[in-house]
């Protein structure tokens, strides 16, 4: 009887964890679907167009229509492709994009796994996303796809360093790797957020985030006017849709991380209003809006300019600011950080 009881609790834990994972992934997928809609609408307005307005009221069913269309399409595997890796590519892109959400806190108690090395975990998991892109580009056995994969790999590695250094500044200020602690280190209103003392790092992190997710103006990995569609040129149907989902899931992830580390997460900007997930959603939504705004505003960077910006501008800025923060923490002004 006792062993049966043990099994029952084990099963309960597994089921409960699965339910919690679903509770994160389902809203995330809905968020991704409606982010594509928001992107088309917002960029439409910025360019004085209407955007999607045919399917459903105000075009609100457009993402669902797109999903159904992609689901019905055939997945074509090119005859010269490396079959196993061709299928593995999209899986390896979406898996890290979703796995990173395991440690993202929505409020101080609403978090799937509150681990004490949360920040390191996020960095490690997101650094694996590049494999999917490289494998997809290589396995397609196509020159355009391969060029796209090369560009993407070089770009992601370059900007990951600047991003990592920007996060080093945050963890120095918070003196913790735990994401909940990092947010709680910013409590006390708008002027306690890390965006103020770490402003250069905030800018570097945000721009590197745009580059890491291969979004405009850093989307040379896709570069439809030069290399057709880059690493996913040979993918069709749902296999293509998975790349698409991963890109948007990564965008939301970078926005959420920016919110948590620089904009005070779920904390309210003024002390007389209560903290809560609403603030988290508003701030993340605002950062996402910046992503779309960038896309509508800037022309695509030239490749050598991207490399120059990453290596010769961002990395020196972050290193200098880390030294500044370290020096400041030894002075009476250390209270600015916590």
């Amino acid at each position: 009887m006792e062993s049966v009881g043990m099994d029952w609790t084990a099963i309960q834990t597994v089921v409960w964890t699965l339910i919690k994972i679903l509770a994160v992934v389902v809203p995330l997928m809905l968020g991704v679907a409606y982010l594509t809609y928001a992107e088309r609408k917002i960029i439409g307005w910025m360019q004085v167009r209407i955007g999607p307005n045919r399917v459903g009221f105000l075009g609100l069913l457009q993402p669902i229509a797109d999903a159904v269309k992609l689901l019905m399409k055939e997945i074509i595997i090119p005859s010269g492709a490396s079959r196993g890796l061709f299928i593995l590519g999209p899986i390896l892109v979406i898996a890290p994009a979703l796995a990173a959400w395991a440690v993202i806190p929505f409020t101080d108690t609403l978090v799937l796994a509150n681990i004490n090395a949360g920040l390191l975990y996020v960095m490690a998991v997101t650094s694996m996303g590049v494999y999917g892109v490289i494998i997809a580009g290589w396995a397609s056995n196509s020159k355009y796809a391969f060029l796209g994969a090369m560009r993407s790999a070089a770009q992601i590695i370059s900007y990951e360093i600047a991003m990592g250094f920007a996060l080093v500044g945050v963890l120095m200020a918070a003196q913790s790797l735990n994401l909940v602690d990092i947010v709680q280190g910013q409590s006390g209103g708008l002027h306690h957020w890390y965006i103020w003392p770490l402003f250069p790092l905030f800018v570097v992190y945000l721009v590197s985030g745009v580059a890491e997710t291969n979004r405009l103006p850093f989307d040379v990995a896709e570069g439809e006017s030069e290399i057709v569609a880059g690493f996913h040129v040979e993918y069709s149907g749902m296999a293509f849709a998975v790349f698409f989902l991963a890109e948007y899931a990564n965008m939301i992830l970078v926005s959420a991380l920016t919110t948590l580390m620089f904009l005070g997460g779920w904390l309210s900007p003024v002390t007389f209003l209560p903290d809560g997930i609403v603030w988290w959603l508003l701030k993340t939504g605002f950062v996402l809006f910046l992503f779309l705004w960038f896309r509508a505003t800037f022309p695509r960077y030239r490749y050598d300019q991207i490399m120059r910006l990453g290596w010769k501008v961002f990395i020196p800025i972050t290193i200098v600011w880390i030294v500044v923060v370290a020096g400041m923490m030894q002075t009476p002004y250390a209270y600015l950080f916590h």
Binding site: L85, A153, R308
Partner: protein, 213 residues
């Protein structure tokens, strides 16, 4: 068998399989990818040992950066496996000696009285709020600070040397300093000339677009 033991054997099996495939895979890209799998599984084993900082750093550094560059290079090489296998029998004796040496070394370490399970027992599990990162940082920056700084300086020298060795200034480089580009004023590049609009002889009346003149 406890849950942790089951996980250990699961990870260990994957690790051994991936390690074997690294040396048996015919395609170098596949071999590199199996090496990535091996690193990742090894990180999982380290997490079981409560060394979460080392595990995550292994993934971050080796999987996230080193192996990406490795793949980058391997993918662009056109490797002819037949040619690489040509000298197999010539190298076999030397390789055999190295392999025997490795086995002897491992037996000396793993089979000895000084490192057996009785002497080096499993460490006591730590509390949930134990931070491996903090402990490592404390040890590195206090007890071993000189060794640590020395390693950092050696790495820095290696970086500088690697760049110095490969840096070539090409004479036909079309590099433009962005600062110069930004500093350009309109008047450096553009000259506005005032000109009277002129009528083209012989086409009046035919083109209605010019009827206003």
């Amino acid at each position: 068998m406890t849950y942790t033991t089951a996980i250990f054997y699961f990870f260990a099996a994957i690790l051994v399989f991936a390690g074997l495939r690294v040396i048996t895979a015919r395609n170098p890209v596949h071999a590199a990818l199996y090496l990535v799998l091996a690193f990742f599984t090894a990180a999982g084993l380290w997490i079981l040992l409560e060394a979460e900082f080392l595990a995550i750093t292994l993934v971050l550094v080796y999987v996230g950066a080193v192996m990406v560059l490795f793949l980058f290079v391997v993918m662009m090489l056109d490797i002819n496996l037949e040619k690489m296998r040509e000298g197999f029998w010539d190298y076999l004796p030397l390789a055999g000696i190295v392999a025997v040496l490795l086995v002897v070394e491992m037996v000396l370490i793993l089979g000895s009285r000084h490192f057996g399970l009785e002497v080096m027992g499993a460490p006591a599990p730590h509390a949930a709020d134990y931070s491996n990162t903090k402990e490592l940082g404390r040890v590195l920056y206090t007890d071993y600070v000189y060794a640590f700084e020395l390693a950092a300086v050696i790495l820095l020298v290696a970086i500088v040397a690697a760049i110095a060795l490969t840096l070539r200034h090409r004479k036909d480089s079309k590099f433009i300093d962005p600062a110069v580009q930004v500093k350009v004023k309109r008047n450096d590049r553009l000259r506005i000339v005032k000109m009277q609009a002129e009528k083209r002889p012989g086409v009046e009346g035919q083109d209605s677009g010019e009827a206003g003149t």
